[in-house]
Symmetry: C2
Subunit: 672 residues, 2 copies
Amino acid sequence: MPDPLDNFYRQFQLFVQNNPNVISAARAAAQIPESAKAVVVLSPYSLEHSFSRDWVSKSYLKTIVERPERLLASSLGISAAITMYPALYTLKSSDRKKSSILSPHVLKVHGKDWPPELLRLCKGADAKLAAQEVEVPDSWNAGDIYLSSKTVEALQGSIGALETAIDSIFEGPSVEHVSNRAFVAVRPPGHHCHVATPSGFCLLNNAHVSIEYAKDRFGVTHAAILDFDLHHGDGTQDICWKRAGFRPDEEDEDSPGYDSFGKKFADLPRVGYFSMHDINSFPTESGYATKENVKNASTCIMDAHDVNIWNVHLSPWETEEEFARLYHTKYRSLFAKADEFFKQGKIEMAAQNKPFKGLVVISAGFDASEFEQTSMQRHGMNVPTSFYTTFTKDALRLAQMHCHGKVLSIMEGGYSDKAITSGVFAHLIGLQNQNWIKEWGSEHVVKEIVRGCKSNWKPYKTKRARDVIRIWAEEVIKLGRAMIPGFEMFFQDIPLNVKATATNIAPRFTRSRAQTTKGPSHEPPLATLDPSKEAAPRHRRIEGTGVTQEPVPFAQEELPSDDNEDEDYVYDEELNKTFNRTVEDITIDDISRHLETLDIIEQQPPPAPATQSKYKVPSKTTTQHLRSSVRPQQLANSNTHANLNGNAEDSDISMVSHISTRNHTTRSGARW
Amino acid sequence: MPDPLDNFYRQFQLFVQNNPNVISAARAAAQIPESAKAVVVLSPYSLEHSFSRDWVSKSYLKTIVERPERLLASSLGISAAITMYPALYTLKSSDRKKSSILSPHVLKVHGKDWPPELLRLCKGADAKLAAQEVEVPDSWNAGDIYLSSKTVEALQGSIGALETAIDSIFEGPSVEHVSNRAFVAVRPPGHHCHVATPSGFCLLNNAHVSIEYAKDRFGVTHAAILDFDLHHGDGTQDICWKRAGFRPDEEDEDSPGYDSFGKKFADLPRVGYFSMHDINSFPTESGYATKENVKNASTCIMDAHDVNIWNVHLSPWETEEEFARLYHTKYRSLFAKADEFFKQGKIEMAAQNKPFKGLVVISAGFDASEFEQTSMQRHGMNVPTSFYTTFTKDALRLAQMHCHGKVLSIMEGGYSDKAITSGVFAHLIGLQNQNWIKEWGSEHVVKEIVRGCKSNWKPYKTKRARDVIRIWAEEVIKLGRAMIPGFEMFFQDIPLNVKATATNIAPRFTRSRAQTTKGPSHEPPLATLDPSKEAAPRHRRIEGTGVTQEPVPFAQEELPSDDNEDEDYVYDEELNKTFNRTVEDITIDDISRHLETLDIIEQQPPPAPATQSKYKVPSKTTTQHLRSSVRPQQLANSNTHANLNGNAEDSDISMVSHISTRNHTTRSGARW
């Protein structure tokens, strides 16, 4: 089986060759222990889940914003971060791991009914779709939930990727072999999924499933979920109520085990939920919100009734100063509350003489981005791209204080390519505690990168040598597109097996409300289908079905049409100059700065002796062992905090190491 | 018809004679315009509502903490404030005003069904009670709701008193004739009463009824309810949701006028709700709270979906510094939110070219007091007595900024005599923007005052001249007991008409849970009755029924048994000395300090020209017109802000004025 990252590694070698100033960083990579790197887990199976009602109108299709193409946008964000700090990320592809939807950690979160029901519906979906019937039950919102038999693979792959990430941050032959931070680029998202009710594109609650796995496998007792998606994570919050012992809304009133107030004892792990979101967007879209939904999205309670939930609503802002004030006075309070949660958890565990083990989980949705498409941002509640760095760095600080630095970040929403790419970029920069450079988030730079999200992307025919941004952006695009081989296949319009023509498909579905215009409106983004109205027939490639139609257009409403036109290009001298400088600065200084800042944020020593967040720049001799794959005996002394074992795959250590391996047949970097 | 305050005025004259240093204050009273005084509205009818199931056990009876005697405790608090600032309060008795439970402002708040149903139940209660049946429907919590035919009078009197207070702060021949601040001592309380569901002692929502009246009569468009009762005002909050256009929980799902999300347009007045409470007490008592109740008590939402609700939970504290930090970082945020609410309201009204008129309403419950009985304070979440001054002064500041200084305060909970007396005292000091002197809230001082809450109170036989606290406390007690003549009757064990014996009443009721111990427990204060268990027979005087039994014992669990024993008295030299000094200081300086502080808090000029909060010390000639009863023509120029008319009763102006009237046949104070 070929390494799914082979393409990427090849592309990365070319990148290094094209950019000699990266060499010093790649060289230094060998000096950096795995514990100082962030793992990025790719989930190729996530491509498999796609909207397959191929009889709907093109305009209806456009409302299906949760699409496989989002993964490519996130890949471009990941590659952008990698080009800036090539030594600081370890890329892993979770292409070999599928985990069952009926895994114990899934069943514990979602109960014994929902996961098998989901499986059954997915398995029956294809037949329904072929018969041009809606594949989801009537009681669901068919406008935001879709299924196919392939959805099962996507979900199995997601669970596997989440497990891979948790394993990566908790498991290794020594603390220095274990990354503390991981970002998982999966879809469909999870935070709207309740105990037994899918909602808002979400079929399983990825955050809670990950936490349950981390509890089962590594004894995590307390997790704080920080959610910066534009939308309230109502499902995640509901499952927190369930964990607190309250009967889920989906359960019968006479379900056993609850007292007459609908509660039983709370179990470990304790999970706090801390969210910032727009109170006028789904599931509390203005004009479409119920009292119950609004209350849920506005709940603020700490350390009472076994519940820790804090919801903050986004406010409008004009200037950067205004946003900074909002951040520091309002949004940042989420960290104060999460800090309270962990502190109280430590006290309670200590009182029971039990070990405390914390984890910070980020529900990383990028739809609050200033770059999100207007249909999603109709209420104008957004955050600057730099927010994703700032917030993430605060999350690291929280994790340093209470969780030995452990942070798991999971992709949630974010629908325009620009929002996802720039958001993931800034988020990953934050996940390595680096500073965001404003120019990286400029309209011009983002526009250049997201060109690579188009199926028919081609490099510019002509580039001027001084045109740093274009040159850099094309490197990013090449790296990002090489990251998930599935994407290339997905884009290649390969012949499929199923035969269907456009004209013989009866019109069936359209939006329940005709309004599909951009800009502020009262239409909820996830309106229900009205199965009785006209709709233009629509062509949809379905993998393995032989349809040879046009590829699915992206819902890239924000992309100007001139993106591919070389001649329209206006050279931005000033931005290029600044950008050039920042890129050079970074590739020279990155590693020392990185180590420095990580030292600074160590504000409070963890209660158990732990070395992974306190290392010094290791010399070649002392770090030699980090590059030997299995020496657990010699590492026994540093194996102090928990759950370390010998089964870490050294081959995963980082893509820079891979490069050096491939070029020099050694991972020591000595020959650089 | 004799003036119901005659007794009080006589007592006040004695007080002045006994305390020559009060004379200067009384003299200065004539100089102070009514607009600088706070109105205190007494509601004698509130005595009529009493628990009348006279067959229940004594221990059950003890759990009925919402009892007529609470009014006496509040009267002692009122008189304590009056002794400190005799010139600054206008006492009014609302003994001549009963307003219908079917008044438009009641029906608008509670719908067309609940008020007549309440009337019907009250009218049918006596027959049920006589038959030893529970007088409230089975679906209600009979442990916290009780009725009798007399309840109707209490409610009619309450509504009348609330109207009197609103009239007092909005109506007068000129702005200088109109008080800006009023405290209404009514019971039963109101903040747990929903649109059509009584709860937690509450039968009608006094705060909302007042606001509706203020809207109908004086055009109030925006009201902020600040609620510092220990318990969440779930009813008040629910009615805010109703005002925002959301269908009340009590209404059928198919009730007309709502969209499919259960909402219609929001109407004026807009009402924001800002509450601090214990999240582990009723209606979210730990172990007895539903998920829905907890969500309600933890809702925080501003300016979205037509809702403005902010709930803050009480935290424990040890030192005064800790409490000060809690207050400034947490509880005080209620004012920031209420400020946001008013600011946004002004913007919205201006945009529609409509007048804005604001009102601050305080739901003044005193059960969070450090002096509340332990059964109510089982979770130990309390506030120091000084809090009631501090919070109230902040409320004045808010009202100065947005509401021309208009503040209506309504008594809610508070169950031990000590909590009510000290809380009302501190609250009224705050309502006149004065400083609270720590010694006033000392255990010793409060203990001396609440002696006067006992039915068999007698002055000490011996008093030493230097014993300032005892001397002062007895003045307070005499004034307070003289305030509501009904109380004297209530205490005099006069023969009644109905005949019943203790022994022939079958035991019927007890608490559903046996636990009636003090201290932290999981028992909700308002548990339901279990109508099948044993209970000791219990004697209960029912007015007009001829029962000649012992008077009802108070639920004064906190009162030490040695309160009446002269010989147990330990003279506290130090406290007496301090207290003496503070009393002297105050009666000399009060008026100038008062005017000074009111000037300071004028932070933002009201948008409409208004003079009532910007006056200077008036000279005798310029204030002469204030003491003439009807000169509206000459006052036309100052009658600038709204709703002033000529029907104010000048005779209400202040009890100090009354004193001077009675002694000197002139209200000018010139002969003092």
